[in-house]
């Protein structure tokens, strides 16, 4: 579907665009090169979803624009089969003085649909937007959420072979988002290929088959979503490791000015690391500091076996300030009702300063602790967690 080989893109940065012409006339360079993409190769097959994550400026958008054909690469090849629709910016060519129906035509034609296709799908599109009578009003009367819904509805009905989605899923309310996700899954089941760029790591883990991490224009890691996302988190924390080490996270990374030296999870009654749903989980984390640390935060994230974030918090959120003197050791004990569905879980621990790990990360330990929920106390339930309902 999409086959990209050895893609290179260098942006030439000029003081003024006119310098590009001076360059041609005088045959000497007037620019500073900026290497935006370095030797990118990727393949996406039928029914496959590739996620692309990376920091701002890592080259994600440039790559998407080249795949979409609005930028040209310096070298390398892009081979695409069938219609490629980019959801790079929803609602391209929308005219805010025109009604929703009229904009369906404009946008549809721009996305490569024929007039006949648009006429056939118009009702489906309108129904999907849930805009009701608003569809005949000019777009300027819409809320931004309504515009987005319209844009997404048209794009998803364009029925491309390949979908490029760039941060486009933050559309509308939760229910509408679920509807979009459902459509995307259907699209994939029918054999459509998706390239998905997002900063929402949870969404990436949920819908992608493979994930590619971009850093400074190059692919630094590629593989299972969970592994790639963990690697990306490590980049965010300011440390880059060889991609080969992926998956083997050991005892983590960080500056180690303060570190977790031991962590143990056990059931309140079961004492082992297997507990039943509904029982309290006791988590004891022993931390030690090399130097005095004033504003220390201990964070935890519980993930299920798919690597999906289930629950996370930290002592900063919980208003429990920690300050350690040099060489001081301390135990921190969490107790939480484990109302999760049966299954295996991991806990990732982090020691950092302030609310999150992006400022100063002392120690990040992926999957430091494992525990298993087995059996349910009380009524059986489905889903991720037990909300303990009652009938009145």
């Amino acid at each position: 579907m999409i086959d990209v080989n050895g893609l290179e893109k260098v942006f030439k940065l000029y003081h003024r665009p006119a310098d590009r012409l001076r360059e041609i006339v005088f045959r000497r360079p007037y620019h500073t090169p900026f290497h935006a993409l370095k030797n990118i190769s990727l393949q996406v097959g039928r029914g496959e979803t590739l996620g692309i994550i990376g920091r701002n400026g890592a080259g994600k958008s440039t790559l998407m624009k080249i795949l979409n054909g609005v930028l040209l690469p310096d070298s390398g090849t892009v081979v695409t089969n069938g219609r490629v629709t980019g959801l790079l910016e929803l609602g391209t060519g929308f005219d805010y003085n025109m009604s929703g129906v009229q904009n369906i035509l404009t946008n549809g034609l721009l996305l490569g649909m024929t007039e006949q296709e648009i006429a056939e799908r118009e009702n489906d599109i309108i129904e999907f937007t849930e805009l009701g009578d608003f569809i005949n009003e000019p777009l300027r009367t819409y809320s931004s959420g309504m515009v987005m819904r319209l844009a997404f509805a048209i794009a998803i009905h364009a029925d491309p072979e390949t979908f490029l989605i760039d941060e486009a899923l933050s559309v509308g309310d939760g229910r509408f988002q679920q509807k979009c996700m459902r459509r995307i899954r259907e699209f994939r089941q029918r054999g459509g290929a998706i390239i998905f760029v997002s900063h929402d790591l949870n969404a990436v883990k949920m819908i992608c088959d493979r994930v590619l991490v971009l850093e400074e224009g190059a692919v630094v890691a590629q593989g299972e979503p969970e592994v790639a996302v963990n690697y990306y988190n490590r980049i965010l924390a300011g440390e880059q490791e060889d991609a080969a080490l992926l998956g083997n996270v050991g005892s983590g990374y960080g500056s180690y000015e303060a570190r977790v030296i031991a962590a143990k999870a056990s059931g309140e009654n079961s004492a082992g690391d297997i507990l039943s749903s509904g029982e309290n989980l006791l988590l004891r984390v022993t931390v030690e500091a090399d130097v005095a640390v004033a504003d220390l935060t201990l964070g935890l994230m519980i993930r299920d076996r798919f690597g999906q974030d289930i629950f996370g918090t930290n002592t900063h959120f919980m208003d429990y300030p920690i300050s350690l003197n040099a060489k001081e050791k301390r135990d921190i004990n969490f107790c939480m009702p484990m109302i999760l569905a049966p299954g295996k879980y991991t806990i990732t621990l982090a020691l950092h300063e302030g609310a999150d790990h992006t400022d100063a990360c002392y120690h990040w330990w992926d999957n430091a602790v494992q525990f298993e929920v087995s059996g349910i106390r009380g009524y059986s339930f489905n889903g991720v967690c037990n909300l303990n309902p009652s009938i009145q």
Partner: protein, 259 residues
């Protein structure tokens, strides 16, 4: 760019652009109309006498109007096509940076929509001519050819200006200034006969002089046009278009980067 999209762009350009105003698309016709009115009122006295020599005596008071309008409508079409194509990449930057669209066929919607405006104006003009018992001639079949040659020139020249304006913003203003000069350097509101002898060769280098003359020869005098002059303009237009496409292919990557 496929045909439905082109037609949709044209429709947007002609009708939707004016959706919010009461007179709507009429505005596109009102500007040329006001021009015609002004020039007729101001120049008919001054120029009327000289035109008597052009076998238009039988038109009497209308001779200048016919002379002026035939030239002016074509000029307005040419100049606004040129000026608008020059800005086509900036005006559509939002589109070019988001949807795959050919840089070379994008200006077509401007050519088509300006042509439609021209045809509508010409329609009114022909009705006017019929009302004043104007002599019809089979040479009028030349008119579409002459017009196409002129639009080819606008396309070629406009494409080059559009590409340059991505790199040098001043091109837009420059084109507007040049259009002003060009207008007065072309015998549109005045007759070629008032040009001093020593300047006349210079005027012959102006391609629009040739298209305007060919237009009037066929429309007013009912003669076949001067094919040598028309051929030169056609060659000019083709060469410029080719040059524009070569330049565009060479710079396409930079154009897309800069927008």
């Amino acid at each position: 760019m496929n045909l439905p999209l082109l037609l949709h762009f044209v429709r947007q350009d002609l009708i939707d652009r004016h959706a919010a105003s009461a007179l709507g698309a009429l505005w596109t016709l009102l500007l040329p109309l006001s021009n015609i009115l002004i020039f007729t009122l101001v120049f008919s006295r001054i120029m009327g006498m000289r035109l008597q020599t052009m076998e238009m005596e039988y038109l009497g008071n209308y001779s200048y109007s016919v002379y002026l309008v035939s030239g002016l409508l074509a000029w307005i079409c040419f100049s606004s096509t040129l000026a608008r194509i020059t800005q086509v990449y900036h005006a559509n930057a939002g589109l070019i940076t988001k949807v795959r669209v050919s840089l070379f066929s994008l200006p077509l919607y401007i050519i088509v929509s300006e042509t439609i405006i021209y045809l509508i104006s010409m329609g009114f003009f022909v009705i006017f001519l019929l009302l004043i018992d104007f002599k019809w001639s089979y040479h009028w079949f030349w008119l579409p050819i002459i017009f196409l040659v002129q639009q080819l020139l606008a396309f070629g020249l406009g494409l080059i200006c559009a590409i340059l304006s991505v790199f040098i913003r001043d091109v837009k203003e420059l084109v507007n200034v040049v259009i002003q000069f060009w207008f007065w350097m072309t015998p549109i509101v005045y007759a070629f006969s008032i040009i001093p002898e020593k300047w006349s060769t210079l005027f012959l280098l102006n391609p629009i002089y040739h298209t305007t003359k060919a237009l009037r020869d066929t429309l007013i005098l009912g003669q076949s046009p001067d094919l040598a002059g028309l051929g030169m303009v056609f060659g000019c237009g083709l060469l410029l278009l080719l040059l524009g496409i070569i330049l565009g292919r060479h710079l396409e990557r930079d154009i897309r980067d800069f927008l």
